[in-house]
Amino acid sequence: MTSRTKQQWDERPDLPSDHFVSADIYTKQDIFDEEVTKLFAKQWKFVAHESELPNKGDFRTAEHAGKPLILYRGQDDVVRCFYNACSHRGSLVVTEPRGNAKYLTCFFHLWSFDGKGACTNITKPDGYDACATVTKDKMGLREVKCVVRLGMIFITLDDQAEEFDDYVGDSLNQLEEVMGTKPMEVFHLHRVNMNANWKQWQETNMELYHEWGHVVNRTTSVAASGYHERKWSIHPNGHGWLEPLKVDYGNYEGWGDRDNLLLPGLMPAEFRVVDLFPNTTVIVRGTTVRIDTTIPIAPGVTILEQRGLGLKEDSAEDRRTRQKHHNQFWGPLGRNLSEDVIFVDAVAKANFSNTAKWGIFARHENMGAQDDEIMRAYYSVWGKWMERRANDPYGNMTAATE
């Protein structure tokens, strides 16, 4: 038998239930809506790097689970997060992506808030004398739990969420020395509109056999010695990281090695990847770091946000080299990143037209680089949060076939 009939094509893959997913998890609006409430409103999420608001009074805006947020470094030098919504009538308090202010003053009726989210000004407050609850001490902003780890700012909308350090466990260990020794600085931030589901992007940072599709990865990494021998470590919360690799950058025509300007704790040309459930990835390439996160808009609309980092202490010349290294692979003009967008959009095209009904994650390579165990673990954790099985989200399969 070569090709398959419609019935054969549509039928449940003859595989263990965790070895495939249903395309419905990417395409269905009700599942997406549930992801917002069951996953994104509960989970810890990377939102920015602390270098984006280095000084007291600096603020940045962000968006998570459909909510506009403010990150604000107070006069006590602590970064906090608040809903970007005024206590008065709900206007956005901050309308610029960044800025500096001792107080945030809402532009609508000029109420003000300080770095701890306390209301510091109600315009002509005697107008509220008849209402004892409309006073500065009761009109603070809604604070969102926020921690800074290795310079990365994580938030959760769930006041009852487990502590961040318990949530990530030892998943950040691979980054401890690289990102935690010297202050780092974001030098690149760009966004990509993808016509795909947010999980399809995250998959590109976990399943590594698509590296065959990238000419840069194929030549510099898959061909490098030790590539397949690296083992995945998988955390029960769905995070994962891979043992380091020495990449052969010189294998790509015109590129040199990456033996200098190494970030702390790295061997020349060392590659590391850390995936944090559900949608953040940190990738280290010797001299520079990329942080990916996604902003899901709809089942088939995702904004990818990609940052590039160097050391804060970089001289102009060193920064230039790091930027070059960053831009070789990454950024909108890099050799690798835009290919992933094309891959993902192509998968989504077949999924959203209900043409491809299944995705197969059935590779077993003894937990090596191209093993699908990381994908299986990811979707198992997704299933727990969602109370649905990724291979059968609507419970259509009979117990016998499931």
Binding site: P97, R98, L333, E339, V341
Partner: protein, 152 residues
């Protein structure tokens, strides 16, 4: 040789036609031997200028040579250029600022604006011919789908 504004306009137009055709040999023929290529974009999120490409002549040549090996957005890109300002610096050097609009046309025929920004070109004379010595691209567009493998 002195700098003739019409010749300069022709040179910029020719450079865009070469890039539209993906004729990188043709493009490099009208660039000087010490050509540099630079793309930047200002990030309102970071409050700083981002460098997106920074190549000397050999790096630019290598980059162009590898383009056919990559997975790329299908369709074609058309560069619409308006040479807005020519500042003659000397008889052998000029600075040219042009507004650019990159329009992508997909295989099915839909055209969309891909990017807007400007070229700031340094023009020089080499072997008695006008040559582009440096192209600095400033992009206003920063949000992409999916990204490019080709020079802007």
């Amino acid at each position: 040789m002195s700098m003739d504004k019409e010749d300069i306009r022709q040179l910029i137009a020719q450079s865009c036609l070469c890039l539209d055709e993906e004729d990188y040999d043709g493009f490099l023929q009208i660039c000087s031997s010490d050509f540099t290529y630079f793309v930047k974009a200002f990030s309102p999120d970071l409050g700083m200028e981002m460098v997106w490409m920074d190549h000397d002549h050999p790096e630019f040549v290598d980059m162009c040579a590898m383009i056919p090996k990559h997975v790329r957005m299908s369709g074609s890109i058309s560069r619409h250029v308006n040479v807005s300002l020519i500042t003659e610096i000397s008889d052998r050097n000029a600075k040219v600022t042009s507004k650019i609009l990159l329009v992508h046309t997909g295989q099915e025929g839909t055209s969309t604006i891909l990017a807007t920004g400007k070229y700031v070109d340094q023009i020089t004379v080499e072997s008695n011919e006008l040559r582009i010595k440096a192209r600095n691209v400033s992009l206003e567009t920063r949000k992409w789908n999916p990204g490019l493998h080709v020079p802007i």
